[in-house]
Amino acid sequence: MKALLVAEYRQGKVQESYAELMAFSGILGAESSMFIVADSTVALPRFQGTLYVAEVSRYDEYNPEAHKSLLLDAIAQEKPDMVVFCHSSYGWDLAPRIAVREKAAQISEVIAVEDGKFIVPACNGKLRRTLTGKGLLTVVTIQAGAFSLDNLPDGIPNVVPVVGDYEGMATLLGYEEAKLGGVDLTRAEVIISAGRGVGKPENIVMVEGLAKALKGEYGASRPVVDAEWVTHNRQVGTTGLTVSPKLYVACGISGAVQHLAGMKKSEFVVAINTDRDAPIGEVADVFAVADLKQLLPVLTDKIMAL
């Protein structure tokens, strides 16, 4: 079996996530080749195999139409059984375009492989689906962090340039970095996070209160930040911070993959949730099945009294 892996390049750097693609194709026992739009004079992914390279100076870091056409060229040369992307802003943007052009199945956000079939989450992580493609080619995106190698791969690839006269329909105007600053959650030893289950902004103080009692910081899931109840520098997850405190307490947080990705390395995890089936249970050491509005004040008082 042959897998063509699609590596990413952003803001002048090869993204290390290409190692996850290698780990995935390793599990499948596939022979790997890779595709990237990058600056070949600066740095390229290191691995043993064929690397199709299109020059970023010509095609830009973001130009889905051109990247799609270049990748289709690489697919035509390589004739893989599978094209593998990260389930990322680059991957979920490009993969469906390739699937349509190649009339291939696309299987999104694979978290595991079982007997050559792909397992993906459904319903915010509450269910698992097992899928297979029907055609000769299958397009796959893999969940961030689901597959990993102990070390970055090594070796000098055999570079095959890809070129073509491809235009785009959308133009990248520039990047905007996250404005962090103020509190640094990544250093906190205790983090108490508020999810949508807090119900209303006034209840954030309960979460903050417990954080104070435990001499920690409070964090939040994305909807709480989107609603502007808490500032973005406290958001935990793929589009926020990755934290690894000694204690993480998730209050009214369901445990969607994008949240888990940001906190699952915490040493000890407590979930407070009314829904016993909430997927946060997958990473929780202790799951308090309770209404946070009732439990948090009692818990905080008792800790203060210690």
Binding site: P96, E109, G174, E176, T239
Partner: protein
Amino acid sequence: MKLLVCIKQVPDMESKFRIDADGVWYDRGDLAWRMNEYDEYAVEQAVRQKEQAGGDVTVLCIGSDQVKETMKKALAMGCDRGVHIADSHSYMKDPYQIAAMIAEFARDKGFDIIFTGMQSQDRGSGQVGVMLAELLDMAAITTIVDYTYDNGSVVVQRELEGGVKAKVKAALPVLVTCQLGLNTPRYPTLPNIMKAKKKELLTIEAKMLQSTDSMQKTVKMALPEKRVGGLFLEGEPDSIADRLIAILKEKTSVLA
């Protein structure tokens, strides 16, 4: 300007899910249904686009008869007309098949901007929007968290990993897939709910559209295996708090 917004009806994610008799989907009985969260942002943005520059918003949904309830919410939020593609088996179709049905409806209608959600909460594939644009040969910009329209072009922010955003511009026609936090969806007001009742809601039978073969097969659906070791604390808050404190004292150093 002609605007299209595609919405899906999904179960409330706090529901208790069971696997259906065939073992390939969740049991659809006994669930509360709502508009896919990502699609609420799409509807809101489409309505704002119309309020800014004029136009006509069509809301489209593929599904069984019950999806009309969700469509009515979109009409009450300000969409002008609804197109219901009646298909009681749509949940068994793969993203390509769904995109192909929408494309067939949309192809000769000349939509200037199409709004979809970034992903559906139940299937979470994030495919239908991009596939639709690909089938219609139009530009697609995914995962937008900011949107402005000016003089025939949209300028949006795409959300990337690690808090970085990319500013992207594209001329119409364009399809955008909407991410959480793009805007704050409005609540339909009572007068608007009443008005929505009079709006056109056209039903097209799925069998009137060309069918395409599915590209993938669901072998099974299952509940995740429960993690061993996770301890559940239940009962009165007072007793949960005492047990939790005892555990924290024993297992962590934070109360030392």
